[in-house]
């Protein structure tokens, strides 16, 4: 059967379920052999029988799933969102310039102090009406449109307030201009306020312009991550190399990567070696050396060597795609601290409108003369100064910057709630094996006794352990192989459970094992007792090698503590956080390791299924507890903790089990994550304090609460300045998080 391949863009995708839905729908089409959809590139790759499948059928399959297929259409280099945003910003800029220029001219012709310098025609009210009309109804059209459509739903927002406020100012001014004699009749000088309405519209639009630009900065992290994706891959198929679009790579493809090239997808090196810069995903600045059999991650940068690897994960399965998904989810999630803003936001605008009515009535009844003017201007000030946007933006913008900043440094935060809880952590429980230690026992000491050399001792131990299946034996064999020792032939090999091994090498009887084995063989270890004790007290397991009836050497094996452990734990203790180690090891070894790391609270001899209960016990002490584990074996304990922190490994990002995943596996990142959480929360609190404080203080000021005491009133123009800056300042404060140093 003939088969053909086609790659096309898909519009409307947003998550992994979209991928599954589109793939499922495409696969149902009769004649489609394979369909793979890539979320990051928003493309589908379909293998099909060209005699049975048409473009139209593919298009309709995608459409049935609720998306749009762009078959045979040029893929867009710039996203629709980006284009639309750019257009919006351009339009907004023009409106801001026109409003402020026209408003400025009106202000020149009407504001006391500068009016004297203005040309005569600008002082003419009809000219001012002519200049103000396009600002009110063209530049300010967006406020009216939003107000009308919101009113249809019986809702109101900031646009409603601006529309009512500026319409009141414009309407009064137009009335004064057209029918001045009516105003004179009621004892008011016919003075329009066209400057107020136009400048307010100009400044609020200016605020929106800056806000839109600043807001774009809050989602920069996602754009950066998406931008990391390689565009092409050099695939070796049937002995021929060819550059193909990344969306056409399939699992099992052999891909060649040359120095300076980006690794296109995840896979395992099959040939060659190189040094790879993974900093873009892990935040770790040192390049990592990789050899055959090692995992490589898509979007990381090959530095020096050329190698070939086998693609194991593509499309939405790659580590990069998973990271993007996680960060997007975190940025869309809601922090508990936001609840107050949530509950206030529904009532805010209607309450401000009611306060505006109250202001008008109070000033009209009790204000100084001309009461109508005072009532009008203060009502406009109340409507204009209120800023619900700042409250709405206070939390999400900081969460977006905080989670993005974490992702840039290999700290993946699952949601806003985890980020919020992390700053309250009082105790952190570390699983020992694989978290504080490397999880792979290694030879730490080789101590020859007598005339034997270190290498000879290791060679003998490696040879005799070759036949053993014990995990410690593995460490010794690995150490011997690393030195490329030729293993000697072992005869009469025998493993003695609980003791060690024995055999004959080059005609000599060799025994290798613990003290019990030495006792059994009547080998005197007296001379080495001191060294053995010291090593055991350092958390090492000591094995002894005897030839004939003589002890010839000691080899100690230990699970090596991670380089970052000591520094990482010290950083946490500096933050005032209690550090606890949990392990299945015996008390003596656990205490020794704890001592090395400066941990005093140790939970030893804990079976894996008891870890969760231990977490709950510490929570019962009233503490907010974080659990750090590998994310797979410790899943129940991670889930039980207030914050589960998983150390990611390779491409296996244990996202589901953990609240925070450290893809850089660096224990120092835990303190960094907590500092990030503290700083983000501080930013949120400051934002909320500012947003609430701003409205709580300035709305009464605009109502004229200071007038009876200080004869102080808020000019509506200043109200618009305050309003325009309030949202911008909240977003800018969130963006300051980007500049803060955590590392």
């Amino acid at each position: 059967m003939n088969s053909d391949k086609k790659t096309f863009s898909i519009k409307g995708m947003h998550c992994a379920s979209c991928v599954a839905a589109i793939e499922g729908s495409l696969k149902k089409v009769d004649g489609v052999l394979e369909a793979t959809v890539n979320l990051a590139t928003e493309k589908a790759m379909v293998t099909f029988d060209p005699e049975r499948v048409t473009d139209e059928r593919l298009r309709s399959a995608v459409s049935n799933a609720g998306y749009q297929a762009l078959i045979n259409e040029e893929a867009k280099t710039e996203s629709d969102e980006e284009k639309e945003k750019q257009k919006e910003l351009r339009d907004l800029r023009i409106k801001v310039i026109v409003s402020l220029v026209l408003g400025g001219l009106i202000l020149w012709g009407s504001f006391p102090g500068i009016i004297k310098t203005a040309p005569v025609f600008l002082k003419n009210f009809w000219v001012q009406l002519f200049l103000a009309t396009p600002v009110q109804f063209w530049a300010g059209f967006a406020f009216y449109r939003a107000t009308i459509s919101a009113l249809k739903h019986r809702t109101a927002n900031m646009d409603t307030l601006v529309a009512i406020g500026t319409t009141v100012a414009f309407g009064y001014s137009a009335f004064v201009t057209v029918l001045p004699q009516l105003v004179i009749k009621i004892g008011i000088e016919p003075m329009p306020y066209f400057d107020t309405g136009t400048i307010i519209i100009g400044l609020i639009l200016l605020g929106r312009y800056f806000e839109a630009r600043a807001k774009a900065g809050t989602s920069e992290a996602i754009k950066k991550l998406i931008g990391l994706q390689a565009k092409t891959a050099r695939v070796v198929r049937d002995g021929k190399e060819a550059d193909i679009p990344i969306s056409e790579v399939i699992i099992g493809d052999s891909i060649r990567v040359r120095p300076g090239e980006k690794i296109p997808v995840d896979g395992i090196i099959t040939d060659g070696e190189s040094s790879i810069d993974e900093s873009m995903l892990t935040g770790e600045s040192m390049p990592v050396d990789k050899i055959t059999g090692n995992i490589v991650v898509g979007a990381t940068m090959n530095k020096t060597g050329t190698f070939t690897f086998n693609a194991t994960k593509i499309g939405s399965e790659t580590m990069l795609a998973q990271i993007i998904k996680l960060v997007q989810e975190a940025q869309g999630s809601k922090a508990p601290i936001q609840r107050l803003a949530d509950s206030v936001s529904s009532y805010f605008v209607p309450v401000v409108i009611m306060l505006a009515f109250l202001t008008f009535a109070v000033w009209y009844n009790f204000g100084p003369s001309p009461t109508l003017l005072f009532a009008l201007l203060n009502t406009v000030a109340v409507l204009i100064i209120a800023c619900p946007c700042a409250m709405g933006l206070a939390t999400p913008t900081a969460i977006m910057v905080g989670t993005g900043k974490g992702a840039e440094h290999g700290i993946l935060i699952k949601d806003a709630e985890s980020l919020e809880t992390a700053h309250k952590i009082k105790t952190i429980i570390f699983d020992k094996t694989g978290t504080l230690t490397k999880g792979q026992p290694e030879v730490t000491d080789i101590i020859p006794i007598g005339s034997i050399s270190r290498d000879e001792l290791l060679k003998l131990a490696g040879s005799i352990e070759k036949g053993s299946e014990h995990s410690l034996a593995e460490a010794i064999v690995r150490a011997a192989e690393a030195k490329q020792f030729m293993v000697s032939k072992v005869e009469k090999f025998q493993a003695i459970p609980g003791h060690g091994v024995e055999g004959v090498i080059d005609g000599a009887r060799v025994v290798f094992g613990n003290k019990r084995l030495m006792d059994k063989e009547s080998i005197d270890i007296g001379s080495a007792n001191k060294e053995i004790g010291e090593m055991e007290n350092n958390g090492k397991t000591v094995m002894m090698l005897g030839i004939g009836n003589k002890l010839v050497g000691l080899i100690a094996v230990a699970d090596i503590i991670k380089e970052s452990a000591k520094e990482g734990l010290a950083a946490l203790q500096k933050l005032g956080i209690e550090v606890v180690m949990i392990t299945g090891d015996n008390q003596r070894t656990a205490t020794a390791i704890g001592k090395t790391l400066g941990i005093t609270r140790i939970l030893a001899e804990v079976l894996p299924d008891q870890k969760e209960a231990e977490v709950r016990k510490i929570q019962a002490e009233g503490k907010v507890v974080a659990m750090v584990g590998d994310g797979i074996n410790d899943a129940p304990a991670l889930a039980a903790a207030d914050v589960g922190i998983a150390m990611g490994s390779g491409t296996d990002v244990a996202i589901e089990a953990a609240d925070i995943t450290l893809i850089n596996k660096d224990l120092r990142s835990i303190a960094t994550a907590i500092i990030l959480s503290k700083k983000t929360m501080r930013t949120i609190r400051l934002n909320l304090f500012w947003a609430f404080g701003y409205n709580v203080i300035l709305i009464p000021v605009a109502m004229g609460i200071l007038y009876p005491f200080f004869h102080l009133l808020l000019n509506p123009i200043f109200a618009s300045v305050a309003m325009a800056t309030s949202s911008v300042s909240v977003v800018s404060n969130s963006l300051l998080l980007k500049r803060k140093k955590f590392f």
Partner: protein, 119 residues
């Protein structure tokens, strides 16, 4: 108190009462959904309150026809979704609620609100 002041006072009180009734005392119409529903995004969300069954996947097809900046993003915080809604383009958001309760969805600035009731 002069007549004009009485008129202004009565009108202001009536205005406050009307504002309260119009914006805060409205009754929400609940729309039962199974499978998928089109939600128009124009000056808010229509329908505003939807009811969906627990554990079932539901597609919410948002179509924004309103260019108001606030509405360009829809946020379903409890479902960890923040999505850009291009103008005049349908955006499908699939949710599978695992627990019952009331979940608010809002615009990016938290000014327009809708509600998902999971039963």
């Amino acid at each position: 108190m002069s007549l004009d002041k009485i008129v202004v006072t009565v009108a202001s009180i009536a205005g406050m009462g009307f504002t309260y009734w119009f914006f805060l005392a409205k009754k929400e119409k609940e729309v039962q959904v199974s499978g998928s529903i089109d939600i128009a995004v124009e000056g808010g969300y229509t329908p505003e309150v939807i009811s969906i069954p627990k554990g079932k996947s539901v597609k919410l097809n948002f179509l924004r026809t309103d260019s108001t900046v606030c509405l360009e993003e829809v946020v379903l915080g409890d479902f960890k979704i923040r999505k850009y809604l291009p103008l005049n383009q349908k955006v499908v958001i699939e949710v599978t609620p695992e627990r019952s309760g009331e979940f608010i969805f809002t615009c990016g600035m938290n000014m327009y609100h809708g509600k998902i009731i999971v039963k």
